[in-house]
């Protein structure tokens, strides 16, 4: 893989999976409702 492709793969995965981790943590910690 070229450096550019590898970088974009890491950025893409980090942004969406990282985003998911952030919003899931927000819901667990700050969610206005509880399960």
């Amino acid at each position: 893989m070229t450096g550019a492709a590898l970088t974009m793969m890491i950025i893409s995965l980090t942004l969406v999976w990282g985003g998911l981790a952030v919003v899931a943590t927000n819901l667990i910690k700050r969610g206005t409702d509880r399960d």
């Binding site: 070229t2 550019a4 974009m8 950025i11 927000n26 700050r30």
Partner: protein
């Protein structure tokens, strides 16, 4: 005499927030995530596509998802009932969304059935050396004559009948025991199987050439407006927004629910799955190109071609091909089935609200005729042609046009955005204030208008797919027009006396504040009571007393 503003029959609920989130993810993660996203991303800038994709997610997809949640949760009904409660004339828009779901539901079943059959075929690689000839010739027995015929193909008919039987069982079991439980079983299975498929694909020879092709950024693509339109289109069609599913699911939520917090989890889960699908699919395509001694460009495909021609070819050539086949087609089967039940639930909820009938009656009333039409049209030697035209037209002139009409009606005509913004913000951990209103009232409708105009131009300047003009006129344009006429007629029918499309906005706000401040509580059975334990049935059943 009190006018009942909620369904008189106790409305079902998901029971827990997590059950709702899982069901919403199950609906959003469908066939398009696996077989559409990788191709769209590759064709529109590769690695650079992540930029318009994320901007479209944040500026159009998530705001639209919040709008659906707000409408469904606040007005507490199916799509026609909720929209009728926004403004009476908007019931037509709700029925339009329901009829779109009828069309999608009847053809989705056949794709789920194909996936189930290919899951079985994977064990023996029944397609042999020529997956293309097997799929179109042996399996579908596709006729050269583009016209609706009734020469049934048993190898498609029986699995499709089984799919409908499974749908019937899930729907009869209800929201908690059927929809929520099905998602609780199938979604973890889908994630585990798909992750395993991605990992196995990464070890195939040539996998990294595939990833290289997929992620190499073409920065010049960012200057191309069609790339941005593709990003908005992908997000829009992938999130299950704008055609009643999220309105219906949100109406099954408890009153005190973190709407935007849950919505963000659903949206990012959907996108996370899509990126993962891109990795898995392109790793496998890299192997295919490597084995054939060609470039990725020669093997890349989307939709049916990717799933039922390219993947079987990969499975035949790859080490542990049967394992990849079971994992891939199992993922398609589960992703398709969980999306299909969400689509059918939109129709069932609408019929139930309109006629005020019990669930089993509504399920029978909806699933039996839909399955009959589906089984008449699609497991035939011409079924693929009808499916292709239905899919192309219902996506653009059903989902897209219907969503645009709803957004304009809610934001520009009824001017309910400030009220819905207050509803979302009051309940949720992430506020949806002025920025959300600007996006929904300005950016989203403009983007949808641009997409719709471009589709109108392309479909009117040449006959879609090279099919005979009269075939497209009937099953494309005719079907799209019938959706609108049908919606108008259905909206003219009277509501049952048990359910009335009237709504007291002021009282709804008052009660919401009560829930958030802890004065009011909702029990698991849906009854509402004060802190002192007094049951206030009138809160949700007789608001205009």
């Amino acid at each position: 005499m009190a006018a009942k503003t909620r369904t008189a029959a106790k409305r079902e609920t998901f029971g827990s927030r997590n059950a709702f989130i899982l069901a919403a993810i199950g609906s959003a993660v469908g066939l398009g995530n696996i077989w559409r996203f990788p191709y769209v991303a590759y064709e529109n800038g590769g690695g650079a596509f992540i930029i318009p994709y994320l901007i479209a997610l944040l500026c159009a997809g998530i705001p639209l998802l919040f709008l659906d949640y707000a409408i469904g949760h606040r007005y507490g009904g199916s799509s026609p009932l909720s929209l009728a409660r926004v403004q009476r004339w908007m019931e037509t828009l709700g029925w339009w969304q329901v009829l779109v779901c009828v069309i999608i539901g009847i053809y989705y079943a056949v794709i789920v059935a194909w996936s189930a059959m290919y899951l079985i075929f994977s064990f023996t690689q029944q397609w042999g050396d020529d997956a293309n000839a097997f799929f179109f010739g042996n399996f579908l027995q596709l006729s050269d004559d583009v016209a609706v015929g009734f020469d049934f193909v048993p190898s498609v008919f029986w699995p499709q009948l089984l799919v409908w039987a499974a749908v019937l069982v899930v729907m009869l079991l209800g929201v908690r025991k059927g929809i929520a439980r099905a998602n609780l079983i199938f979604m973890p299975l889908l994630v585990v199987m798909f992750l395993a498929m991605v990992v196995v694909s990464l070890f195939l020879p040539g996998a990294f050439e595939g990833l290289n092709a997929f992620f190499t950024p073409d920065w010049s693509a960012l200057l191309n407006p069609t790339v941005w339109a593709a990003a908005i289109g992908q997000i829009f069609f992938s999130l299950s927004v704008g055609f009643g599913i999220m309105i219906t699911y949100a109406s099954y939520l408890r009153r005190k629910t973190d709407l935007t917090g849950s919505g963000l989890v659903v949206a990012f889960s959907n996108s996370s799955f899509e990126i993962l699908a891109g990795v898995g699919v392109f790793a496998a395509l890299g192997f295919m190109a490597n084995a054939a001694g060609t470039g990725i460009n020669d093997v890349v495909d989307a939709g049916i071609g990717l799933a039922f021609v390219a993947f079987p070819t990969i499975i035949s050539q790859a080490p542990f091909g049967a394992v990849i086949g079971v994992l891939f087609f199992g993922s398609l089967l589960f992703a398709g089935f969980t999306s299909m039940i969400s689509i059918i639930e939109v129709v069932i909820a609408a019929v139930r609200d309109k006629l005020g009938i019990k669930r089993w009656a509504a399920v029978t009333f909806v699933v039996v005729p839909m399955s009959l039409i589906s089984l008449l049209l699609f497991p035939t030697s011409s079924g693929l042609y009808v499916l292709d035209v239905f899919d192309a037209f219902v996506n653009q002139f059903g989902i897209l046009a219907g969503a645009l009409a709803m957004v304009i009606a809610v934001s520009w005509i009824s001017r309910k955005l400030p009220l819905l913004s207050r509803h979302l913000t009051l309940l949720s951990s992430v506020p949806a204030r002025r920025l959300w209103m600007i996006l929904i009232g300005g950016v989203v409708p403009l983007a949808l208008i641009a997409m719709l105009a471009s589709e109108l131009i392309s479909k009117t300047t040449e006959v879609y797919g090279g099919y005979p003009a009269e075939f497209v006129a009937i099953y494309g344009w005719g079907m799209s027009a019938l959706l609108i006429v049908g919606a108008i007629i259905l909206a003219m029918l009277p509501w049952t006396t048990r359910v009335q499309p009237v709504f007291d906005e002021h009282k709804a706000d008052e009660h919401l504040r009560g829930f958030m401040q802890g004065h009011l509580h909702e029990k698991d059975d849906g009854t509402v009571h004060t802190s002192s334990g007094t049951v206030i049935e009138t809160v949700w059943k007789k608001e205009n007393s």
